[in-house]
Symmetry: C2
Subunit: 145 residues, 2 copies
């Protein structure tokens, strides 16, 4: 907890809260610190994970808080299957996803060349990129047969 209390993500959250007249609560701190340990997680999964240490934390609060993180730019929601995955944006640069439409397997990757081209495209259109999302859908080697 102490580790996340002074992290740059916590600072980002504080700024976002201040800017929008929102308040820093015990739950928001707790959920942030749990979130920062994950690369991506669903609300349900986090609910079960936190139930061990805080049995009264409500599922609605987790949904609300993860959506708050999205607003603050700390998380990014991604819909897969019937659920929403909340991706940790701060994890080692940004990683993208290869998603198998057959079995749902997800492979993460990073590609600097693609990122550089994205910057070029954005610049050509007068944009400065804050974040991006790239998902490649296809069949993995196993499902292709």
């Amino acid at each position: 907890m102490a580790s996340s209390r002074n992290s740059k993500e916590m600072e980002t959250l504080r700024e976002h809260l201040a800017k929008h007249q929102l308040k820093l609560t015990r739950q928001r701190e707790l959920i942030l610190s749990a979130f920062l340990r994950q690369e991506h997680i669903t609300a349900e999964a986090m609910y079960h994970q936190l139930a061990k240490t805080d049995p009264h934390l409500g599922l609605a609060t987790i949904y609300r808080t993860l959506n708050l993180f999205c607003d603050a730019g700390l998380a990014q929601a991604r819909h897969f299957g019937s659920q929403t995955q909340y991706d940790n944006v701060s994890h080692k640069g940004h990683h993208d996803h290869l998603i198998c439409t057959g079995c749902g397997k997800i492979v993460e990757f990073e590609n600097c060349d693609i990122e550089r081209l994205q910057e070029e495209v954005a610049a050509r259109n007068g944009f400065t990129i804050q974040t991006h999302r790239l998902e490649l859908y296809g069949l993995c080697s196993r499902c292709r047969h």
Copy 2:
């Protein structure tokens, strides 16, 4: 309708049906011909669209049929927001999006170099790409100031 009755997509569907002991129905023909006119559509949108000409066509039938098209390789489901988009696989020109987080402006673009790199990444991981989604979020020139 006559135009789709002999299309190659219709032939693909016929083959799939034959191979799985399924039947060609009036509804399946109707939904296919409507689907082929779209780049991508939701079941709900198609329901409203077809309600004009065929008020008794059930929503469940549309879902079932669009999923059938996915099995047959004619369509591909993609989760977007809270809904499922059914993409027309035969439509090739895929475009990506630049989205301004300030004003919501959306600019469409295409970039062959990025697409080529995507193929490389996929191949390196044993995937064959069916489709992709690339969204760049940032500030447009106007909102940056």
